[in-house]
Each structure stands twice: as C-alpha cells, then as structure tokens.
Symmetry: C2
Subunit: 304 residues, 2 copies
C-alpha cells in the first residue's frame, strides 16, 4: 500500500489524460479535461474525428509510446472495443506501472454494462500488473458522436464505480485515485458497487426504459396522433430514438437481467389489460393506486 502521490492531490486532477474513442462520451471527457487545462492524448479509429479533436482539445495521439504520460486513461468505446484496446496495450500499461509504489496510469472504462468489461479487464490488470477500475458515467443524450460531445456533459451526473477484488486498502486507494482524476469533469455523486449488482439495476433503470420507449412507438396509432400529444407521450418516447448497434451490444451483454425486467413489466401490464376487458374499475383503481404508492415512496426516499 503506497501513499497518494502529492503532486496529484495538490493539483486536484490529472496532468495528462488519455482517451480511447472520441464519441459522445469520450469527446466529452476530452473537452472537459482540455477546458480544465489538462493535457489530453487520444485515439479514435476515425481520422476525421482525430483531426477535428486536434483543434484545441487533443494534444497528441495515445499509443504504446505515450500512454505512460497519462495519469488516467478513459476507455470510451463499445464493450468489445474496450477489451480489444486493453488486450493490445496491456504490456505497455504494465511497463508504465510500478505496483510497488502504486504509480502509473489508472484505467477506467465508461461502458453501460460492467460485467463483460470488468471481468476481462480485471483479469488483464491482474495478469500484467496495471490498474483498472470499472466506471459508468450516468450521462448521455439521445445524440451520439464527437460533434455532440460537451465539456459540461458530466456536470452533476452520477458516476458508478466498480473496483477490482483486491484488498480493502488498495481498493480505497484506487477509488480515491479515480475520484481525484475525474474531478475536472464535475461529477455530482459517486456510488461503488459490484459489476453484477450494477448490471441488474441498470437493466431496470436504463435498458428497460429504452426498450419500452422503443416499443411504445410501434403502435399503429402512433401514425395518427398529431395535435394530441401531451407531455406524458413525449416523456415516454424520448429515448425511443437510440443507437441500435450500441444498445443491442449492451443489452445482449446484460440479457438475463433485461429479459427478467421486460417479462416482469409484461406481466404487470397484463393485469391492467384484464381489468379493462372485465370493466373492473375497482381492480383497475387498485392497480393504479399500487403504482402511485410505490412511485411516491421511491421519490420520498430519493429526496432524503
């Protein structure tokens, strides 16, 4: 167990940050760091994106030769892309890391499912000797790509962290390092959990929301509703517009938990349908009152 490097604590953030993948999330990390005066190195397979990012944001390319300059490396690509990058750069990361002194870049990912990425990343980190902490910034928009990225995307947003299964002292050290290294982004709240628990909950709060929203607009009635849409329709269908390639990969990686949530919702919806077909207003009122009660209790809890 080493001590936190003084240089880092004093400056309240990294001197240099590496970003892998300059989409909405990676681009926003890059812009946020650059705006805070942090030197940013980055890699993206799209040359046009690299060129665009080089104007005022990215100072140079992140590769085997330069990754040792980074205090933090943020993997901001799809699950498979994150794992591939780690496999290709595991040796260089190990070379840049001194596990005796707990010195070297801390690698985090930003993927919306944690099981599949963390399992392999923890394994690589352990085998080669570098530091990895799973991370899921709870922010985003219905738009994707570097063009939509913003320096303030993470301001006030929650960051969920998944530490490796190491001894408690090192775990606390790594979590503290990551919090310190992401300080310039302005996250509002940090949670620490396991990959399995994260994926179970995220299937409900995020993936199910996207599936329901996406399925909602498939009614034939959607084609004739002009002038009739109140706020409830707009809210329910906001995330129907999504990136199908990214979401299908995330959802397949969390398939059991998400299928459980969809099936649970299907059962719950079936009860309302039965009440309506039976013209059973008392039963319908009870079903609605139950949901209302649960929602109010949840809102009360999160207010405290």
């Amino acid at each position: 167990m080493g001590t936190v490097r003084n240089a880092r604590v004093n400056q309240g953030g990294p001197k240099c940050a590496g970003i892998v993948g300059l989409g909405l999330i990676g681009g926003s990390f890059a812009r946020g760091y650059a705006q805070a005066g942090v030197r940013v190195l980055a890699w993206d397979p799209d040359d046009d994106v690299m060129t665009a990012a080089s104007m005022g944001t990215v100072a140079g390319e992140l590769n085997d030769e330069t990754l040792g300059e980074c205090d933090i490396i943020v993997l901001a690509c799809y699950p498979k892309g994150c794992i591939e990058w780690l496999e290709e750069h595991a040796q260089a990361l190990a070379d840049a890391t001194d596990t005796e002194a707990i010195m070297g870049p801390v690698v985090i990912d930003t993927v919306g499912v944690k099981g599949i990425v963390c399992e392999r990343a923890f394994e690589l980190a352990r085998e080669h000797g570098f530091y990895f902490v799973g991370a899921h910034p709870m922010a985003g928009t219905q738009f994707s790509g570097y063009a939509h990225s913003r320096a303030d995307l993470f301001q006030g947003a929650p960051l969920v962290l998944v530490p490796p299964a190491v001894d408690d002292a090192l775990k606390l050290e790594l979590l503290g390092q990551v919090r310190e290294m992401v300080r310039p982004l302005g996250f509002g709240k940090f949670s620490v959990t396991t990959a399995a628990e994260h994926d179970r909950v995220i299937a409900f709060t995020s993936q199910l929301a996207h599936v329901v929203s996406n399925a909602y607009v498939k009614s034939p009635t959607a084609q004739v509703h002009h002038g009739f849409s109140a706020g409830s329709y707009r809210d329910l269908t906001r995330v129907a517009h999504l990136n199908p390639q990214m979401w299908s990969e995330l959802m397949i990686d969390d398939a059991d938990a998400l299928a459980f949530e969809i099936d649970h919702l299907i059962d719950a919806l079936g009860a309302y349908s039965h009440a309506l077909k039976d013209r059973d207003q008392r039963y319908l009122e009870n079903l609605l009152a139950e949901g209302d009660r649960i929602k109010r209790a949840l809102d009360d809890e999160s207010a405290h």
Copy 2:
C-alpha cells in the same frame, strides 16, 4: 345560422365565465379568466375550495339563477359529474339560450375521454335546446386540486374540440365561439375531431403512457436503484404518480382502445425478450432500429 355577437368579438373573450368543479383544471380556467378581467362564477361541492376561490378569483356562485349571465360554462369534473351537472341544469341552460339567434352560454367540458361525455351531452343539448362542444385541454401536472391550479396552465397547450353533429354552418359557428371564449387562456393550438377518434388516439398518447409508467415501478428492482437513475428512468416513471380514482374512471370509459394499446405493447415487448433469451443480437438490433426509425419519422413530421 346567426352572426357572432359583436360584443364578444370586440373584447376577444367572454364577459362572464362559469366553472363547474374547481380542481386543477377548473381552478386554472377560473384563475386564467379572472386574471384576464373576466367575471367568474363557479360551483364546487367543497365549501373550503369555494371559500379559497372567492378570494380574488370567483365572484359568485354558478347556479340555475346565475348561469344565464355566462358566455361560456366549463365543466371541469369527472365524466359522471359533468353529465350529472348537465342533467340537473339542462332546463335552465335551455331557458338561457335562444336557438334562433344562437345566443346563450356555450357549454364545454374538459374531460380526458370524449365518447361517454359527448354522447349524453349532445343528446341533452339537442333535446333541451342549448349549446355544447366537447373539449379536452391537453395540459395538466402530476398534481391535482385547486391549490395547484395556475392562471397560465393552458398557455401554449393544445385544445382538442369535438363539435356536435349539426349542419356545417352551425358547427363552424360553435367552434368559432369556443375559440373566441377561451382566448384569455392562451391555448397554443386547436384540433377538431370526433369523440371516437379522440378516444382512440388518447388511449395511446396519454392513458397508455400512464399505465406503462405506473406498471414500470412495480419491478422488485425499483427498490434497489438508488444512485443509478439516469434521465431515461425519470422520464419513464414521471406519470406513475397519478390520481387513481380519476384515471380509473377515464380508462374504463375508454377500455377497448386502451386494452388494444396495452396488448399491442405487450406483444412488441415480447419480441425484445425473445431476442435477448436467444442471445440474437442481430434480431435485437433490428427491433431497436425499427423503433428508432419510427420515432425519427414521427419527430420529423411533428417538426413540420
């Protein structure tokens, strides 16, 4: 076919408005009219509400003796309450109406289903000789009651109108009257439709949204999601909190259309669940791409 009364056209609204029921909607009509300098008469079964509303908003009681002073009467109670009030006051409304000159109060309702209210109201209006136009202001909040009503609740909101089956000239006259009489409320857009078409569409845009939101929070996972909720969860569950008595009555009155929408959504959701259980990422991606395409097309349409 008479002519529009000059007094009304010149002042751009009613001189006197009657409100039946001072909940969120009726209270907001009352406040909006009062703020625009319109004299407001009202009736509510709750004496405390009447007392509260008498302070600066409501000038007097709406009853058989006073309803003839009104240029517009707004029924703002539950479906059954609207019909009961109309049945009790049908004769007084007829006495205050001159169908030769098309003079007298225009009655509108504000109920979220139009079939059940319009059918009986049109019948009463025809039999007794007074004017009724179905209306659904597409505004509201998750809160109810006079205390939450606001003079600006309808600013920019859509108003859907359902005219009676009369000759086209009288129909246009009545629709014009209502538009003129609600001008002080600042509605943003007017649509004209039939009760059946309204109820079919509203089952999808509003009632289904409330059912889905209300059912969503019933997952056991809802109890453990603290710190993990992004905007998609908040949007999907916003209207889970609702008035069960009011909504169960509205939904039972539109039972067939709403049951159709719920069953359609259940089928659509089932496809995603199957894709997940089969680990069929290509099928899942196709399902998501289909919803994304529909959503984008709908957004493009409503932007024009």
